[in-house]
Symmetry: C2
Subunit: 316 residues, 2 copies
């Protein structure tokens, strides 16, 4: 397996700069008082398709040679990766095929289609997904862009931490949620080179704590079907992300569902931004471990803001 | 009555710069496609106390001489002006007295108190409010800072349009909601000098359209008790704001309650920011009058983001 390098991340940043936003950093005097830390929130929810995943997707799409680009890209995802890959492919004007269970929320399908993605539906099972995906790929020749276990994707996600360090005057710690580990891996890739003194901490729901248990055990543990409101964090680590997590992450902190919802509401109220439950895991971990972060300059990556406003966790 | 000048606005900007945020400008490819215009959203909801009113309040508070500052400031308001004035007074370390009906939402009282404001409750009637306020002012000697009919406040609000023009490469139109007219007056003050070719348009709820009717009639019409979800826009124009509205506003556009809610939800979803119903009136007016804005560079002032997340209009 090819491990992406710091130079790959730098090249990715140049490649994707015209296609992504250099997202702003928000602060809140109130949340600083509440936590005793100095918090900086990097708003990846402000990317046009609403998630950091547009970085990795754009790096993969705009790095294709002309021959492959003509055949397009393909993936299986029912989350932000699908819409971000569709968005990037639309910007380059190439096909994007997405395999998605027919049970995926209509809103997610609508977003993929709005960006020109072509959806092929499958049954909500791993075997059906793999079989359907193989057929789609054979028919189209689309390059498979994995949501996180892909060196181009990780190099792309690493550009976020580069901007974050440039936008702040250094950080003691960067904290981000962990699912498959794409953002955390990119963050490790960048910070281990650019700011090796900055700690990288991952945050995870207790109810989907496979990365935490992997970290403690020293090898990947994948769960069958975790259940959490943080629906961007259900997927397990893979070999490439495990490389970065095991090599450079300082710690993984877990939080309860109630703590995630409380943190989500607190962020909406005081930062006045719309962020996903998956993004709220980080602040929840800080609030649960105040002593650990007190007095420090802490960077929090707000990973996404695609939320169903009709079914908010505190109103339903 | 003293009409604030462009130089007053410039002096205000220097005075308040250390105490306010130079708020970012957001864009959305999706909302551009939807409206056919090029939209720029100035995020005053990102001020620490969550509203543009911190500009005018800070200009008034930091412009006081030492003698008056020792006695502090006073106002009657149950909205963003009360919390923004408390916030500014706290930053200067001076007293802030607020008269508020005992029926005001607990959350609003909590915010004022969090910023050190001293609340005196009154009955929810104009006579009780005026009587109570007179007593408080006599006892404290606090300088009365009206929420909008005050030249210092208007000069302060005008700093937002200055930043907006600096942050964009010129705008064809700036649109903002109108209640008492403080923000619109400040915007007129600034743009009539800095960018006289830029149109200023006000947006108002149909159910509180006193500014619209005043504008058409050529004199102030004040309603008794308008009812709208845009609860920041209930108050009538006064002589100072009428001066600017009648002199420089190009038009006032009105929208229905359903249109406000639709626009609010659309903004939350695609800009991923939390904004008040009062702030959503502007985008609603653009969506209702697409032909008028198509092809134009339109600046929208997002006036505030203090929302009760437990009672959102589309979930209750």
């Amino acid at each position: 397996m090819y491990i992406p390098t710091y130079e790959d991340m730098l090249a990715a940043h140049v490649r994707i700069a015209p296609h992504i936003r250099r997202t702003p950093v928000r602060t809140s005097e109130y949340l600083n008082e509440l936590t005793g830390a100095e918090l900086f929130f990097k708003c990846e929810n402000f990317q046009e398709p609403g998630a950091f995943k547009v970085r990795g997707a754009s790096n993969a799409v705009f790095g294709l040679d002309e021959d492959q680009a003509a055949k397009g890209v393909a993936t299986h995802s029912s989350g932000n990766h699908a819409s971000c890959l569709s968005y990037a492919a639309k910007r380059r004007g190439i096909p994007c095929n997405v395999v998605m269970p027919y049970t995926a929320p209509q809103a997610k399908k609508d977003t993929v289609r709005r960006y020109g993605g072509q959806i092929t539906e499958c049954e909500p099972s791993t075997s059906s997904r793999e079989e359907t995906f193989a057929k789609v790929q054979a028919a189209t020749g689309g390059d498979f862009i994995h949501p996180y276990n892909d060196h181009r994707v990780i190099a792309g996600q690493g550009t976020c931490a580069k901007e974050f360090i440039e936008q702040t005057d250094g950080l003691d710690t960067v904290i981000a949620p962990i699912g498959g580990g794409g953002m955390i891996s990119g963050t490790c890739l960048t910070l281990s080179n650019l700011a090796p003194e900055t700690q990288v901490i991952a945050a995870e729901p207790e109810q989907a704590d496979d990365a935490y248990r992997s970290f403690k055990a020293g090898h990947i543990i994948a769960d069958d079907a975790p259940k959490t409101i943080a629906d961007g964090l259900l997927v397990p680590l893979k070999d490439l992300t495990w490389h970065f997590v095991s090599d450079h992450v300082s710690d993984i902190l877990t939080v309860s569902e109630a703590e995630i919802i409380e943190s989500m509401k607190l962020s909406w109220k005081h930062l006045r931004i719309v962020m996903e439950a998956s993004s709220s895991v980080s602040l929840a971990a800080i609030l649960k471990n105040k002593d650990r972060f007190a007095g420090k300059r802490v960077g929090i990556i707000i990973t996404g803001g695609n939320v169903d406003l009709d079914t908010l966790p505190w109103t339903t």
